[in-house]
Symmetry: C2
Subunit: 467 residues, 2 copies
């Protein structure tokens, strides 16, 4: 399949050029002011073509909880999440479809799904998510969420003597599940990858991290984990390791150019140097960090240190949306209040680069994805610039990033295959998806959460809050 997008705006230097872009198979094959049309012709007039963005950190099945958890910090929020996590494959399938659709319709051609696994059906959970992503046609990085310590271990002890039960599955059994999934589903050439992706140092042993490093090296897998999302986690790291979690992960060999780290809110300047030296990527989830009160990640410091930064929506229970353009906007403008010198602020063009090339770099695909260049894969977004939300005409990228675009993705391609046409998802029936999501859920409010209530007294005490 070949196609030519005619007379479309693309960003160049500090302005725009109007060009024809030719795609042959999976690849961008020519870009020039005027080309002999090849294959299907797409009219790009008054539209903006950008590389697809990466929703570089989410948890698809949290969609079943969105809007439902009250404003509480991560440690209590996750307790409530545990109480209500869906435990059937049909819901896993539907929320992966929903996550893919929302991501695609808001600028993302790739998704990193830090996927919650159903106990006893771990392999099937991964299979189900892969199936959903393939149906929608989004490029999928399935990162099974694994741990070998229990939730109660994730709180700092603070000398209070917390009690943690053992985790129900052994470290080796967990690693075996990942290896089986890699053998079955890891096919980068088809747009599906499996990542080694421990939940985070707060619920993982050194052995689990080391096992993930070994699998990653053996199969050439990317690595993904949560890192220092909250102050409580920074406290826990000191208790657990007697030093920064970043230095510890470096010593375990977990940090390299294939590693992306979600959140990174509570890092020191020395930690930042480690991220730069190891070429690790930070995935910034501004909306989740605000909603959970985790803090403001020092993103301008990361950029100044040369650390690669990209954006994620995080799961829908902590955002509560998979609108990637919103995550990019907020992840950009939030930092203007962290540095008085506006020369360091993130410009809309920088945001686009972080969301596209930055995302690709975090997945070690910067040579294949993340920019509109001849020879790169055709993961492309064509934005309609005539919606009221983007009018009057000014600077297209300024409007797209700083505004609140309203259903402006007109066409999208992943590996040269059209996945959005005339604003509609091509791979699945979205009306049917809505009906299924509607039918399988109930209105609710102010529900009790036994796990949250159980953990709250210790949390308040260890965080020095009035009890």
């Amino acid at each position: 399949m070949s196609f030519t997008i005619q007379q479309v705006m693309i960003p160049v230097d500090r302005g725009y050029a109007t060009v024809d872009v030719q795609i042959t198979g999976q690849t961008i094959t020519a870009i020039a002011p005027h080309l002999e049309p090849l294959g299907t012709v797409i009219n790009g007039q008054d539209q903006l073509l950008l590389p697809g963005f990466v929703n570089a950190h989410t948890h698809s099945s949290e969609m079943w909880q969105r809007g439902s958890i009250p404003p509480v910090p991560l440690e209590l929020w996750i307790a409530e999440l545990y109480d209500f996590t869906p435990l059937d494959l049909e819901r896993v399938y539907l929320s992966a479809l929903g996550t893919a659709v929302e991501t695609l319709l808001t600028g993302g051609t790739s998704v990193v799904d830090h996927l919650t696994l159903i106990p006893g059906q771990e392999f099937e959970t991964i299979a189900t998510a892969v199936k959903a992503y393939q149906e929608v046609g989004i490029r999928a990085f399935v990162a099974p969420l694994i741990q070998d310590e229990s939730l109660s271990a994730s709180l700092p002890d603070g000398g209070l003597g917390k009690q943690s039960e053992a985790y129900f599955r052994s470290t080796q059994a967990t690693l075996d599940i990942i290896e089986a999934a890699v053998k079955e589903f890891h096919h980068p050439e088809t747009g599906v990858q499996i990542l080694t992706s421990p939940t985070g140092m707060q619920m993982c042993s050194d052995d689990l991290f080391k096992g993930c490093v070994e699998l990653s090296d053996r199969y050439g897998l990317c690595r993904h984990t949560h890192l220092l999302e909250t102050k409580a986690q920074a406290m826990l790291a000191q208790e657990k390791y007697g030093r920064s979690a970043v230095a510890h992960l470096q010593d375990l060999g977990f940090l390299n150019e294939r590693t992306s780290l979600a959140h990174c809110v509570w890092l020191t300047d020395a930690d930042i140097e480690i991220l730069a030296a190891t070429k690790s990527t930070v995935v910034h989830n501004a909306l989740s960090n605000l909603r959970l009160g985790s803090g403001i990640a020092p993103v301008l410091k990361y950029l100044a240190a040369g650390v690669n930064v990209t954006f994620g929506c995080d799961g829908s229970a902590s955002n509560d949306s998979q609108d990637l353009l919103e995550a990019v906007k907020m992840g950009s403008i939030l930092h203007c209040v962290t540095d008085v010198d506006y020369k360091h602020w993130i410009t809309p063009r920088k945001s686009v680069e972080m969301a596209s090339l930055g995302g690709a770099t975090g997945l070690n695909l910067q040579d294949q994805l993340g920019s509109i260049e001849v020879g790169k894969q055709a993961d492309l977004m064509l934005y309609n610039l005539s919606d009221l939300s983007l009018l009057p005409k000014t600077d297209p990228i300024g409007l797209l990033i700083l505004g609140r675009p309203n259903q402006v993705v007109n066409q999208a391609w992943v590996q040269g295959k059209q996945v959005v046409a005339d604003g509609q998802i091509t791979g699945i029936d979205v009306d049917n998806l809505k009906k299924e999501l509607f039918a399988k859920s109930e209105w609710a409010s102010d529900r009790p959460s036994p796990m949250r209530e159980k953990m709250e007294p210790h949390y308040r005490q260890v965080m020095n809050l009035p009890v």
Copy 2:
């Protein structure tokens, strides 16, 4: 005209009730589980009815600049804004229409337009905005943006010896324009009010504030102004008054229960006490405050002190959208990072109250607007809860406030008159508006701004930034 919304969800206590709501003329006349239908019947099933929100601070004509000004602080941003402010009534008309449409389709039934006036056509500018708002049918609070000092006066001097030219129009001539507009257009019973609304202490004399107080008292007008949006303004207040701007405005008699104050980022605890004592309202514009790097307004402190707080989008050149639901979301979750005790965080239900009753209170209309109660005006929003962005079903208000709702306003009424039907604006042809905005604008990027370049050296020096 009477109508009955049947079997609609409304919030009660900490849950929801499904009720019929009856409207007769402009007023809510009955709410009960089942009512004898009166007039037109509206099916409210699986929809949420909320009081209309107030977009409590914007500048409609900034729409012509949205997306175009790079990330710089207010003082330089406004210099660029001055360079490119539209100077014709047709553009004033179109941007007021656009502001009204975007506000209505994102939850707002009222708009406070701090309206930039075309020099020499001040009265005509006000007339044009009023006409646009009446055509769309939104409740309009037109607040003419007046000043009697020049832009260069708005920077702190810092001992550098700044030079400010005189303003082109006398204080009295400005007040005369407002009085003429009040006589012609101030008709609260029809949903149009004129406010006395000096730009802010950074460009207004004491005489202008006092003149506004006098007009406000004589005609029963609300008052509106920018207050301490930036650190530079706080520095200027010390230079200009030798004390806080809040204490100064109090002494001028400007602060009372009819006064709403946009931004309020740089207030001290003593200032906050003055706001509480005078029953002034804070209009929080979180998105603009982030985008311009102004800072994070101490909203949780305001709430703790009993100060009324509501939300605004601010003008589209500093946000760059009139999506009121986005402004409410960000204005709520942003504050979770300002207080470690989550018991002080803003819940979604509190956000709704701030956006509706809080907005009404800031306009001294809390007895007539801002809640769904028998006897109150029917300014109502009916939200469609079956869009993918609000699925699966969980807590409707949680989904609406914490999520990223996508065109979910199904029906809206102002004073009992339907202004949105089946998701479409009833008063004007929005497709035609889009065509006009498109035709009257040009793509642009990286344009020079002479005024910004002129002011930048002094700004960097006085703010102690590397020159």
